[in-house]
Amino acid sequence: MELVCPAGNLPALKAAVDNGANAVYIGFRDDTNARHFAGLNFAPNKMVEGIRYARGKGVRVFIALNTYPRPDGFGRFEQAVDKAAELGVDALIAADIGVLDYASRTHPALNLHLSVQGSATNYEALRFYHEHFGIRRAVLPRVLSISQVKHVIDQSPVDIEVFAFGSLCVMVEGRCILSSYATGRSPNTYGACSPASHVEWIETDAGLDTRLGGVLIQRHPKGENVGYPTLCKGTFNTDGQIDHAIEDPVSLNAMELLPEMKAAGVKAVKIEGRQRSPVYVAQVTKIWREALDSFERNPSSFAPKPEWTAALGKVSEGAQTTLGPYHRPWQ
C-alpha cells in the first residue's frame, strides 16, 4: 500500500519525502484547494522545486485542485489544471465535474484522481467518474465501514485510497456546508472550514468562549485545553443535554486496520494535515512508514507498537484517536 502524505509547504514536502512517503499531495496558493489557509501552500516556483526534490528520491507528487469553481472563477481553475499538466505532476486530485471534464479533454495524459470532496461513497458514482473522465483513483469519504470499503473496491473500476490518520470529518466531504452557514465560507466554495478570519476567542469570567461567525461553539472553563472551533465538534445544548451533539473532538487513527485494509484491496493510505507543521509531517510519516514496512514484512502478526500509538496520540487533535467510521460501533 502506498503512503500518501500531506505537504502544506516546501519544508513539509521535504519532511514527508525524507521520512518515507511514497507520494505527497500539495496545493496552489489560493482557493482552488481545500486547505486554503493564509501562508500555506505552494507558489509555482516552489512547486517546481518540490517536484524536483520528490522525484529525485522516487516520490510521486499529486496536486489537489479540489474545490468547486463558480462560473466567474472557472478560468483560474483551467489555468491551474494547465499549470499542473505543465509541471508534469503524477496526479491531479479534483472534485468538480466541470474541472474533471476540462482536465480530461485538454490533457488526456494527465492522471486524474477523484478527490474525497467529490463525495463518491458507492461504486456506481465511481463508474460515472471513470467512464466520463477516465479517473484512475478515488479517495473515499470518511463515512464507510471497512466492510463497505471492501464492497466498493470489489466493484470499483478504479484504485481506492482511504484516509488512515488525521483530523476526522464526521460529515461526507463535499456535502457539508455547516461552515458557510455560520461564516459564508465553506470547503466547497472557499477551500476552508471554519476560516480563521471568522473565529473569535473571548475571555469571560468563567473561562474562554470560542465563536465562529458570532455563534458560540465552545465554552471552555479556565485551564481547559482549547481546540480549533469547527462546528461539528462544538458543544451545544440539545433538549437540555449539553454535549458534543455531533462529534467528539477526536481524530482518526486506523493503523490497527492495516491488515483489513490490505485484504480489502486498498491501494493507498492517506495522512490528513496539509495545515500542520513540517515537524508533524515528519513524525507522522516516519511512524506510518515503519508501520507499513513492519506490516509488509510480517502481515500475519502485525500490531501497532504502543510507542507508535502513543506518539501519534500526542500529535492528534483532541489528543484522542478513534477508528471512526471504519469500525462498526461508530455507526
Binding site: 468547486y68 469553481p69 462560473p71 466541470g98 463525495s119 458507492n122 452557514y181 451533539a245 455531533i246
Partner: protein
C-alpha cells in the same frame, strides 16, 4: 466580466415560475404522510418530489406506497418526480436505487452521482445535494439527459445569474425558496446518538421529531436541527421576497421543503405571490410567522447562510 452578457432566455415580464414541493425530509408515520399528500393533491403546487432521501432504515412508506401516492397526485394534475437517497453506502441501498431508476413512469431526481450514472441517457433532475457549482458541470450533465437542476443552497443570487446566462437552454432551473436548509450528511445518526442508541438499533427515534431535533448554542441561540444522518438549519430559508429577482433571472421552479405544520398556508402564500394576488414582500413576512423558528436568507445575498436580511 468584460464580455457582453448574453440575455437570460426565459426572463421576461410575466414569466411565472412553477411551484414545487420537495421530498419530506423527516420521518413521519405513514398515516401522516398519507394525510399530507391528500392535502397536497388539492393544493396549488405544480410539481411534487416523492421518496425517502435521508435514511434507508425509514420504512414506513415503501416503494409501492410511494408509487401509489405518485399515481394519485398525477390524477390530480401534479407532475411527480421520484427522489433518491442522498448518501448511498450499502448494496441494499443501491438495489432500491436501481428499482427507482429503472421505472420509466416518473422522472427521477438524482441526489447522488451514483443515481446520475444509473440514469444515463434518460431524462432526469438533480437535487440540491448534487454539487453543480458552474455551467461546465451543467453542460456535462445535460449531455447525460439532465432536464432540471437545483441551485446548491449555499450559492448566491449573483452565481445564479452567471449560471442562467451560460446554462444549456433546455435545462430548467429550480431554487429552494422555503424550508430548513440541508447543511450536511454523515454516516452517523445524530438523533440516535443523542438518545444514546446505536444506529443499528435506533428504534426509529427520529420519528419523535416531526421537524427534526433543534440544537441550541450554549447561549440559547437556536442553531441547527438534527434529522437522523442529516443536519439542517434551525432557521427556515425564505426567498419569497426575492420573487421579482427570480422572475428576472428566469428561474423556472421555486421549491418548498415540507414541514409538519401549516404547510397548506405556506403553499397558499407562495401561490398567491406567484399569481400576483399578493405582493411577494407582504406574503414573505406572513410566511415568517409559520416557521418553526424563524427566517434566514443569507446565502442568496452572499452572506453567512444563517443571516436574515429581511426581518
Amino acid at each position: 466580466m468584460n464580455n457582453p452578457q448574453p440575455p437570460i432566455a426565459a426572463a421576461q415580464s410575466g414569466h411565472r415560475p412553477r411551484l414545487s414541493l420537495g421530498p419530506i425530509t423527516y420521518y413521519w408515520p405513514k398515516e401522516q404522510v398519507d394525510a399530507f399528500y391528500a392535502m397536497v393533491a388539492e393544493a396549488p403546487v405544480d410539481i411534487v418530489y416523492l421518496g425517502e432521501t435521508i435514511c434507508s432504515k425509514r420504512n414506513q412508506v415503501r416503494h409501492e406506497d410511494w408509487l401509489a401516492i405518485a399515481e394519485r397526485l398525477t390524477e390530480h394534475g401534479k407532475e411527480v418526480v421520484l427522489s433518491t437517497l442522498t448518501l448511498l453506502e450499502a448494496e441494499s441501498e443501491l438495489k432500491r436505487l436501481r428499482t427507482i431508476c429503472e421505472q420509466t413512469q416518473f422522472m427521477v431526481e438524482a441526489n447522488d452521482m451514483g443515481a446520475v450514472h444509473l440514469l444515463a441517457s434518460r431524462p432526469f433532475a438533480i437535487g440540491p445535494s448534487v454539487n453543480c457549482y458552474n455551467d461546465r458541470t451543467l453542460g456535462v450533465l445535460a449531455k447525460q439527459g439532465l432536464k432540471r437542476w437545483a441551485l446548491p443552497v449555499e450559492l448566491t443570487r449573483e452565481t445564479l445569474e452567471q449560471m442562467q446566462r451560460a446554462k444549456p437552454a433546455d435545462v430548467e432551473t429550480e431554487v429552494m425558496a422555503y424550508g430548513r436548509l440541508p447543511l450536511a450528511y454523515s454516516a452517523r445518526c445524530f438523533t440516535a446518538r443523542h438518545k444514546h442508541l446505536p444506529k443499528d438499533d435506533c428504534r426509529d427515534v427520529c420519528m419523535e421529531y416531526p421537524d427534526g431535533l433543534v440544537v441550541n448554542t450554549q447561549d440559547d441561540q437556536q442553531f441547527l436541527v438534527l434529522n437522523g444522518i442529516q443536519t439542517q438549519s434551525a432557521h427556515t430559508v425564505n426567498l419569497l421576497a426575492e420573487l421579482p429577482a427570480m422572475r428576472a433571472l428566469g428561474v423556472d421552479i421555486l421549491r418548498i421543503s415540507p414541514q409538519s405544520q401549516q404547510m397548506d398556508q405556506v403553499i397558499e402564500l407562495f401561490h398567491q405571490a406567484l399569481s400576483d394576488a399578493v405582493d411577494p414582500a407582504e406574503a414573505s413576512s406572513q410566511l415568517n410567522a409559520l416557521m418553526p423558528v424563524g427566517p434566514c436568507d443569507g446565502y442568496w445575498h452572499g452572506e453567512a447562510g444563517m443571516v436574515a436580511t429581511v426581518a
